[in-house]
């Protein structure tokens, strides 16, 4: 078969004009379904970003006994620095702790009550992987669950951290399932719409086959059309998403950040992943279009 682009593109655009309603339906179906999928993806990606920044702020505070020897203290510090889970160790002396406390409670009545320095010295640990916080904390206890020599108490917001992690795990699974379901729904909807538009032209296919058109000759204009519908539809959805993400979501998130005092929040749009989401949606639209046309044709092409 000789490939004749003029014929194929010509046919594609002639039928675009003549079957406008069908194309319009297909394109809007693609645009709406992929928009919903994309919006959800962006929201999930964003919430994950927020949760990750919150997780990153998990710290372990190791309070030391006042009678700890300098040898034991530096031994502990070196030991902690050697642990893989820990990214940063900061020693806060009794004096520094008191100063910090005074700063935080300036003008308060409490300061007058304080005599001497009741505050302990401590190590503040930052973690590479916040999920390991419990393991890290356990390293400061012996077999019987008592704190090792020199350590008075280890605090890492036990309840709060555990809840946060289980919530993020569950939310992640649910989000994943919803995305799968949405994606399947989108694929089925688009497939059905394109199948209808192929079905509407079965007579054309029959005539083509009976006058001796090869299968590929019948198929190509339909594949072009399917691709075109998928591509244009997904492009529209991406344009909509772009505006929504850039104007509405970012504003909303800034408001959240301001009220919740979250540091280093990964705000949407600061990240390249969103570009991959857009590119993925367009690719997906084009592919679904082509494959839907191809599958839908199978039934009619076997004359």
């Amino acid at each position: 078969m000789i490939f004749r682009p003029k014929y194929f593109f010509g046919e594609t655009f002639i039928s675009l004009r003549r079957n406008f309603l069908m194309f319009f339906t297909a394109i809007t179906t693609v645009a709406i379904t992929l928009f919903i999928v994309g919006l959800f993806l962006i929201l999930v990606y964003d919430v994950q970003g927020i949760l990750t920044s919150i997780k990153g702020q998990v710290e372990v505070a190791v309070y030391l006994k006042d009678n700890i020897t300098d040898e034991l203290k530096s031994y502990l510090e070196n030991e902690i620095k050697g642990w893989d889970e820990v990214s940063e160790v900061k020693y806060v002396s009794k004096d520094q702790a008191l100063e910090k406390f005074k700063k935080e409670n300036e003008g308060s009545e409490i300061l007058k009550e304080i005599q001497g320095n009741p505050l302990p010295a401590s190590f503040e640990l930052k973690l590479k992987s916040p999920e390991k916080v419990e393991q890290v904390a356990l390293r400061f206890t012996d077999k019987n669950g008592n704190y090792i020599e020199g350590v008075d108490e280890v605090i890492y917001g036990q309840n709060y951290v555990q809840k946060l992690f289980s919530i993020t795990a569950i939310a992640g699974t649910i989000a994943f399932l919803i995305i799968i379901v949405l994606l399947l729904a989108a694929i089925v909807l688009i497939f059905n719409t394109i199948r209808l538009s192929v079905h509407a032209r079965r007579k054309e296919i029959e005539v083509m086959k009976l006058v001796g058109a090869t299968n590929w000759f019948v198929r190509l204009p339909f594949l072009f059309e399917g691709f075109f519908e998928g591509f244009v539809g997904s492009l529209i959805s991406v344009i909509l998403l772009y505006f929504i993400a850039n104007y509405l979501l970012i504003r909303g998130e800034k408001a959240i950040v301001d009220t919740m005092h979250i540091k280093d929040l990964a705000i949407l749009g600061n990240n390249n992943i969103i570009v991959y989401i857009y590119a993925g949606l367009i690719l997906l639209g084009g592919l679904i279009g082509i494959f839907s046309s191809g599958f839908a044709l199978k039934r009619y092409i076997k004359v």
Partner: protein, 228 residues
């Protein structure tokens, strides 16, 4: 030379309905034959087998000396380009003009546009519709639509033209016109096989008549009439 030859051809459909039983028949180049018989006698099956729209159950069919039963799927389009096919219900594409409907048959087999521009008006002139190029099928009468369908089947100048009840939806006067057209196409050297149960047409034409009944040939007459 034998244009079409059926050798012991049997066709049984999936529902175990035997449409043709052990058919043996030869049609020579340039012949005009009527396939007659009541509905369900196997006329349409006969035609569908020739263009490989359906496969044979047993036996062999030769077109221009070539066995089409073991033809590869990729060669079927080539076979169909040598056989024009006229339907009872015309099968014109409603959203294409008359010119485009006929041109379509050439486009889809990859003919260049300068050939199309010459051949389509020529064949539309032959069927008497030279002045309706830009009309749409619904703007034509049934007889005119059938002429377009014949033009489409013949535009590629196939050596064989098959017609399945081409006058089935037409009144007697219009049918006569269609028959004159088919005769003319036959005179140019085209082998024509036409399935019909239009008695008056068969009787007036005096051509070869093959009568089918329940899938078997019960009569094959050189210059026959519809019924004995």
């Amino acid at each position: 030379m034998n244009m079409i030859e059926f050798r012991n051809v049997t066709k049984v459909y999936e529902d175990n309905n035997t449409a043709l039983k052990n058919i043996n028949l030869t049609i020579k180049k340039g012949e005009f034959i009527f396939l007659v018989g009541p509905s369900g006698s196997g006329k349409t099956t006969f035609i569908k087998l020739l263009i490989k729209e359906i496969p044979v159950t047993s036996g062999n069919i030769f077109v221009a000396g070539r066995n089409i039963c073991n033809l590869k799927a990729s060669r079927v389009p080539q076979l169909r380009r040598n056989i024009g096919y006229v339907f009872q219900d015309f099968k014109l594409l409603p959203n294409k003009t008359i010119f485009e409907n006929v041109a379509f048959a050439l486009e889809v087999i990859g003919k260049p546009s300068y050939v199309i521009k010459v051949q389509v008006p020529q064949v539309l002139k032959l069927v008497g519709l030279a002045n309706r190029l830009n009309s749409y099928p619904h703007q034509l009468s049934a007889g005119e639509q059938q002429r377009v369908s014949i033009a489409r089947a013949f535009v590629n100048r196939p050596p064989i033209l098959l017609a399945d009840e081409p006058t089935g939806n037409l009144d007697p006067t219009t049918s006569e016109g269609i028959m004159r057209l088919l005769s003319r196409i036959n005179l140019i050297g085209t082998t024509v096989a036409m399935a019909t149960h239009d008695k008056s047409i068969v009787n007036s034409m005096r051509r070869r008549v093959v009568e089918l009944e329940e899938g078997e040939i019960i009569r094959d007459q050189k210059r026959g009439v519809y019924g004995v």
